[in-house]
Structures are given as structure tokens and as C-alpha cells.
């Protein structure tokens, strides 16, 4: 008897959706002590599968047919009260967003105790809660139990969620993208924790993810989903190294390959030099003291013409602030930003204007980076028009650029909401290129995109960089992306650049302890995706 058996599961989508079924004809099994990764891009139906097992589907998405069995018991036939009793007891779930998954008004310990109480195991809850918190490696369980969620970091909250899920030693743990919202080092700790607990207790884990690195790190078996169907299923080594289905092959081919040996570009004159840059944020009101948080501390680096420098770091490391300081979206309080010999920092708004065409930026969120009320053609042309190019010429240039970023010229007269995320990111790139910049600052340009789209946008960036001889400052949290596209990398931690050097050198011989920890945390670092067949 399998721990979990899903047979021919079909879940309907509400009428008017882009397809009839959220998932269709899904079959999979999970044995005790096994980790099954369900992997796919957004909208593939992987989360729906997980929620169907838990009986947590929203009302608009009913299970239409198929069988769901947990330990031989038919879940679909159960009354909702019976199903409730199983939830939290025999099967438990953890979610993607640890920041919002806990009740903000309730102490952490009480929330774990609640899981025990509602299943009649509330006796001695206080002691049990502390045991559980200790079991997920949280320091000082007594203090944590008394804290409210907002006091804890994302990683700590995810540990609390795991402790809560494990409270009644369930046979099945469903983890729905549990590390996606976390920084890479925290992600690795959580993955290890799940692995450790799972092997110690023999729990079966259904692990939902979009990241093949995570799959390589943790999976025993893999099921790949596309458009609501499972297209390939098998054991991890086989699927990762010898994928059969074309979609799996494409997905794996799109995974950034890591640090390839690359020739450093020939020495070139310096375009940008940043010296002693400093930025401190302060907040507080009239009736309370001010708190200062250093965002960037004495950053020094230089960029040669035609070079790409990657700035990598985790959230809060100051890498985005650094990018924004260079284009004066954030005003630093000290330092020099020497661009082609001129210090840009003291320049006024008017003094900056000539440099606006020479330094451009592309942004992270393709859904937020285009004005929803402006036609795409206008959006691309408005920069050059602002700088005095006649309107007709600017629109011609916009049309050429749309072709360059592989969009149809008809896009000119459409609004941003008619495009997908990847297409919008191309529009954003065209808008920046319309200014004919020398320096392009890219702030996490691919982190909001699915992996296959990510690969296309990265290829486009590499292409235009070569074509226009662009110098690029590339901000990313993803080390694999940095390794693929950057000549040199700078590693940031807590507002400081802790290490900088040629990409292959930093990846092969990291000197700073933080860089070493960061590299050791790349999920699936022992696995290299096979070249596309």
C-alpha cells in the first residue's frame, strides 16, 4: 500500500479560463520515506495538485474525477469533518510565503499548540511546542514560542511552519514551494532540515517547486508538469540527466549552466568608477527617536567599457540600492560616481539630464515597470522625445527596436497589459535601448520570470550587449545567472562589497567566508544540467 495514491485526478477550472481543467488525468504515487518533487512553471497546475490532496481547493475549482487515497483511505469520499480530522494529523502542509502564513496577532507557540489542541492532543502542549521548535533547530525555543511572527525572519518563520506541520507526526508532508521566497543560504538550511526530518521519521514528502536546482538537491523521484498534465515521471537522476520529454529537455536546457571558463575581455578604458559610496536610511517620526540603517557602506568598484559586472547578494544586501544610487533614484550621502570622467553625484536634476541618455536601466518586475496607461510605442519613444528627437524619428526608432527584441511591430499600438511577463521585459529593454545608452544597469531583470523565459531574456541581453558594445552592471540574487552572464562579479553582504574578481575565479576559489557560504548554498550545485540534445 502506497502512502499516497493519486489516480487520474482532474480538477475543473471556472468557465472562461484559458483552459478547461486546472489539472487533467494526473496519476502519481508516493511511498513512505520518499521525496517526490512535482516541478513545473507557473500555471502548470502543480499547486492545485497539492491542494486537491489536502482538500483545500477553493470553491471555484472542484475535483471532477479521479481517486485520492491516503494510506489506503479514500479521501474524496470523506465528509468534510472527517477530512478536517486528517489534516494536520495524518497529512500536513507548508506554504511558499512564510511572511504571511502565520497569524500576525497570535504568538508562535500558541499557533503550534493550536494544531495539537484541535486534534485532542493539547495536554502538555507547552512542553511539546518547545520540543518541536528545538527539533527544527530554532535557538532558544522558549523565547521563540512567546514571540509574535513579525519578530522572526523569513527562515525562522518557515521553521515554525515546519514545526507546526510536524506537530502530530503526519505520514505525509506537502511542501508547496517552501523555499521560493527565501534567500539562497536560508533555502539550503530549510532543504537540509526537510531532508533530515524526513529521513529520521520516514515521512513521505510531496515537494512542489519550479527550480531544478532544488529538485537535484532533494528529490528521490520527479514528476514534471505542463499545462495541467504530468509529461514525465521517473527517478531523479534519470529525469535530471537524461530527460525524455521535449518539455523537460527544454526546461533543463534553460537552467543557467554555472561558471563557464571564459576569456576576460581585452583591457578597455574605464567607463564608470564608484568610490566610497555610502547611503544610510533613517526612519522614525516626530514623537519617537530616529533609527538609522546603513544600506551601502563605502562601496568601491570600476567598470571598463564593454564589460559586464555582476553584483550578487541576498535580499537586504544593498545591491538594488547601489544600482539606484548610480542613476540618482536614491541619493547617496557620500562618495563619488565618476562616469566617463565626471562625478555624477553632486549634479542637479538639470545637470544630470545629458547623462540620462548615456546611462539607462532595466527593472525587475515586468508588471510594474511599464505605465499601464501608455501605448507601448509611446513608452519606447518617449525617452528620445524628451531629449529632443523629433517624434516621427523616435517612433521609427521604437519600431526598429521592437524588431530587435523580437516583438511584432503591431505591439506599438497596444497597451502593456496585453503582453506576457517575458514580452513586457523585452519592451522594457527596448525602452532603455531607445536612448542609445553606453552603460546599462539591469536590476534583477529575470528574477520574476519563469525559467524558460528567463533563458530567452538572458540570451537577448547577451546578444544586444555584443551588438552595441554595451557596458553592463547586472544586479542579481541568483548566482547561476551571474555566472552565466557576467565577466566579473562583486559579492555584497550587509551593504558592503566583500569580494570582487573575475567570475570564474570567484566561483572556483571564493576567498571571503560569505562568498563560500553563498556558493555552498546553490541548490543542486553538484549537478550540471546536460547540454540540450
Amino acid at each position: 500500500m502506497s502512502l499516497l495514491r493519486v489516480e487520474n485526478l482532474t480538477v475543473a477550472l471556472p468557465p472562461g479560463a484559458d483552459r478547461a481543467h486546472a489539472v487533467e488525468g494526473i496519476s502519481l504515487t508516493l511511498e513512505a520515506g520518499e521525496i517526490l518533487c512535482v516541478v513545473g512553471e507557473s500555471g502548470s497546475g502543480k499547486s492545485i495538485t497539492a491542494n486537491a490532496v489536502m482538500g483545500l481547493l477553493p470553491k471555484g475549482l472542484p475535483v471532477k474525477s479521479g481517486a485520492l487515497e491516503l494510506l489506503g483511505q479514500d479521501l474524496r469520499g470523506l465528509a468534510s469533518e472527517e477530512l478536517r480530522k486528517l489534516r494536520g494529523d495524518r497529512m500536513a502542509m507548508i506554504f511558499q510565503e512564510p511572511m504571511t502564513a502565520l497569524n500576525p496577532l497570535m504568538r508562535v507557540g500558541d499557533q503550534i499548540a493550536e494544531a495539537l489542541q484541535v486534534h485532542g492532543a493539547g495536554g502538555n502542549a507547552a512542553a511539546r511546542v518547545q520540543e518541536l521548535l528545538a527539533a527544527v533547530n530554532l535557538p532558544d525555543p522558549a523565547a521563540i514560542a512567546k514571540s509574535h511572527p513579525f519578530r522572526l525572519s523569513g527562515g525562522q518563520r518557515q521553521r515554525v511552519m515546519i514545526a507546526m506541520a510536524l506537530a502530530l507526526e503526519p505520514a505525509l508532508l506537502i511542501a508547496d514551494e517552501p523555499t521560493t521566497a527565501l534567500d539562497v543560504t536560508t533555502q539550503m538550511q530549510i532543504l537540509r532540515l526537510i531532508r533530515e526530518i524526513q529521513s529520521r521519521r520516514g515521512t513521505g514528502v510531496l515537494f512542489i517547486t519550479h527550480d531544478f536546482g532544488v529538485v537535484a538537491e532533494i528529490a528521490d523521484r520527479v514528476a514534471v508538469m505542463q499545462h495541467g498534465r504530468i509529461v514525465e515521471q521517473g527517478n531523479a537522476a534519470q529525469v535530471l540527466n537524461a530527460p525524455e520529454h521535449p518539455y523537460t529537455k527544454a526546461l533543463i536546457a534553460a537552467v543557467p549552466k554555472g561558471a563557464a571558463e571564459r576569456d576576460l575581455p581585452p583591457p578597455a578604458p574605464e567607463l564608470l568608477r564608484v568610490l566610497g559610496l555610502r547611503k544610510t536610511y533613517s526612519r522614525g517620526g516626530w514623537f519617537s527617536g530616529r533609527v538609522s540603517v546603513p544600506a551601502i557602506q563605502d562601496a568601491d568598484f570600476s567598470l571598463a567599457r564593454g564589460e559586464t559586472l555582476g553584483v550578487v547578494g541576498e535580499s537586504g544586501s544593498g545591491k538594488s540600492t547601489l544600482a539606484r544610487c548610480i542613476v540618482k533614484l536614491v541619493v547617496p550621502e557620500a562618495g563619488e560616481i565618476r562616469f566617463d570622467g565626471t562625478d555624477l553625484r553632486p549634479l542637479s536634476r538639470a545637470g544630470w539630464k545629458p547623462y540620462r541618455s548615456r546611462v539607462q536601466m532595466i527593472f525587475q518586475d515586468p508588471y510594474a515597470s511599464l505605465n499601464p496607461r501608455r501605448l507601448v510605442g509611446e513608452a519606447i519613444a518617449e525617452g528620445p522625445i524628451t531629449h529632443g528627437l523629433p517624434r516621427a524619428e523616435a517612433l521609427d526608432r521604437a519600431r526598429e527596436l521592437l524588431a530587435l527584441v523580437q516583438l511584432d511591430p503591431s505591439a506599438m499600438a497596444r497597451y502593456p497589459h496585453e503582453f506576457s511577463g517575458g514580452q513586457r521585459q523585452r519592451i522594457g529593454i527596448a525602452r532603455a535601448l531607445a536612448m542609445r545608452p553606453e552603460l546599462l544597469i539591469a536590476d534583477e531583470p529575470v528574477s520574476a520570470l519563469d525559467v524558460s523565459v528567463q533563458a530567452q531574456v538572458l540570451a537577448l541581453l547577451a546578444d544586444i550587449r555584443k551588438k552595441f558594445g554595451l557596458t553592463m552592471l547586472f544586479i542579481t540574487h541568483d548566482l547561476r545567472v551571474a555566472a552565466q552572464i557576467c565577466d566579473r562579479v562583486a559579492v555584497m553582504s550587509r551593504g558592503a562589497i566583500v569580494e570582487m574578481g573575475p567570475t570564474s575565479e570567484v566561483f572556483a576559489n571564493p576567498r571571503h567566508a560569505y562568498t563560500q557560504a553563498l556558493l555552498a548554498s546553490i541548490p543542486g550545485r553538484g549537478w550540471t544540467a546536460p547540454a540540450a540534445a
Partner: protein, 278 residues
């Protein structure tokens, strides 16, 4: 635009509201022809119940036609509602935009000022202002505008604050656009929907506020208003219920239709064209 109407029409209440509102506007516009002469003049015997002697809605204690009073009162109510809303909007949008776009110290100062105006009992302040500056249509409009702008400022500030940090506004900065061009071209158009919806609701609440002031005897003594009619009927309600009931119904119908139009606007403007991820 066609899209907007299609979505607006889907809300049946909003369509009814719009029709009623247009009728009220027509009534106000044609009052001098429907009821020639001054609404203050005696038209019949005092305290005539509705329907008698050609007075559909009856007469008041001085024999004035209640229907004529309502028709002429509509002019004042709509005028005061519209003008004070425009005034409150211009103050609120300006302050909110400055606070939200500039942020920092300016934001702090403007928001403390706004908070202060929201804390004090606004109706009491309005009474005080009209009483001290003597009741005229000007002082009534000014008083209503002074107590109505803070919510606008808060909404506009919140919108500007969130839009200012949106990446498309940052992109506009990086393109080198001027501040005015960014505020007018990128931020304001995306903040317009809530302002429009709020404006329709503000006209409604301004009409209510005006009626309350004139009910208390703080209306312009030369102008016939709905609130005045109800106020004068209050002491004789046992004798002549119609004197208070009909003007009140007029207020109810007008304000209700404005609120329905507001909901319709909100439905039609909100499919989050402005919010991306639709």
C-alpha cells in the same frame, strides 16, 4: 471609453442612479419655468395637505408651495455640492500630490496638518465657520470644502506614494523626464480612478452637509434650500408631516443616485487596468 460604458452598464443600480440624477439636474435647470416666481411667495392657503388646491406636495405654514421649494432648492443643493467638491478636490489633490510625491519632511508636515483636520469634529467646525463668517452661499461652500478635503489628500497621497516607487515611474525618472511631466503624465493618470469615485461620493456628502447646515438655520437666508424646508417643518411636524417628508425624500433620492453612480464608476474604473496583473 466604449469599454467603460459596457462595464458601467453592467451595474443596474448605477444606471438607475444616473437616470435619476439627470432628472434631478433637469428639474433644477427648469425650476424657474416649472415654478415661475419666487419660491418664497405665498401660493395658496397655509398648511394645505398634498394634492389639494393644485399643490401636489402641499403648502407650508405661510402658504408657500413645497413643490416649488424643492425644485428651487435642487439648484442650491447641486450647486453647493459641485462647487464645494471642486474646491475640496483642488486643495486635497494638491496637498496629497505634494506629500506623496516629495515624501520625507514635506510629507510629514502635510500629513500632520491633514490628520489634525481629520481629528477635529468637522461638522462642529463647519457650524462655527459659517456662524462666525455669517451664513452666505460663499461661506457655506467654503466651510464644506474646508472640512471635506482631508480624505482626498489622504487617498491621493497614498496613491502617489505607492505609484512613486513603482518601477515605471522610476523608469521615467531615469529617462530624464521633468518632475511636472512625471506627475502629470505618469502618476496622476494612474491615480485618477479613486479620485473620480471619491469625487462622486463627495458631492453626495456635501449635499448632506449643506442640508444639515441649513436645517440648523445656517443657510443663506436669501436662498431656498432643502434643509431649510425640513427645518421649518420640524416644529409643526404633528400638523404638517409633508413639510418635512418631501424635501427629505428629495435629498434621499439625489444622494442615493449619486452614491449609486459612484459605485458604478468604481466598478467600471477598477478592473485594475491601472494595477498591472489583471
Amino acid at each position: 471609453m466604449a469599454d467603460f460604458w459596457r462595464r458601467y452598464r453592467r451595474n443596474k443600480g448605477a444606471v438607475v442612479g444616473l437616470v435619476v440624477l439627470i432628472l434631478v439636474v433637469i428639474m433644477a435647470a427648469t425650476a424657474p419655468w416649472l415654478f415661475p416666481g419666487s419660491p418664497w411667495d405665498m401660493a395658496s392657503a397655509p398648511f394645505m395637505p398634498p394634492g389639494e388646491m393644485g399643490m401636489w406636495l402641499g403648502t407650508d405654514s405661510l402658504g408657500r408651495d413645497v413643490a416649488a421649494g424643492i425644485a428651487h432648492g435642487a439648484r442650491i443643493s447641486l450647486l453647493v455640492g459641485a462647487v464645494s467638491t471642486v474646491a475640496a478636490l483642488s486643495v486635497g489633490v494638491t496637498l496629497g500630490a505634494i506629500a506623496g510625491y516629495l515624501g520625507g519632511f514635506v510629507d510629514d508636515v502635510v500629513m500632520r496638518f491633514t490628520e489634525f483636520f481629520q481629528t477635529i469634529p468637522s461638522f462642529v467646525l463647519a457650524i462655527l465657520l459659517v456662524a462666525i463668517f455669517t451664513p452666505t452661499i460663499g461661506s457655506v461652500v467654503a466651510a464644506i470644502a474646508i472640512v471635506s478635503w482631508p480624505p482626498v489628500a489622504r487617498v491621493v497621497r497614498a496613491e502617489f506614494l505607492s505609484l512613486r516607487s513603482r518601477e515605471f515611474v522610476q523608469a521615467a525618472e531615469v529617462l530624464g523626464k521633468s518632475r511636472i511631466a512625471i506627475v502629470l503624465g505618469d502618476i496622476l493618470p494612474n491615480a485618477l480612478s479613486p479620485i473620480i469615485v471619491l469625487a462622486s461620493l463627495m458631492v453626495a456628502s456635501a449635499i448632506l452637509l449643506e442640508s444639515a447646515l441649513s436645517f440648523l438655520g445656517l443657510g443663506d437666508p436669501n436662498l431656498m434650500t432643502w434643509g431649510f424646508l425640513i427645518g421649518s417643518g420640524r416644529s409643526v411636524i404633528r400638523l404638517a408631516w409633508w413639510m418635512s417628508v418631501f424635501p427629505g425624500l428629495a435629498i434621499f433620492v439625489t444622494v442615493l443616485s449619486l452614491n449609486l453612480v459612484g459605485e458604478g464608476l468604481s466598478d467600471a474604473l477598477n478592473p485594475r487596468l491601472a494595477r498591472g496583473r489583471a
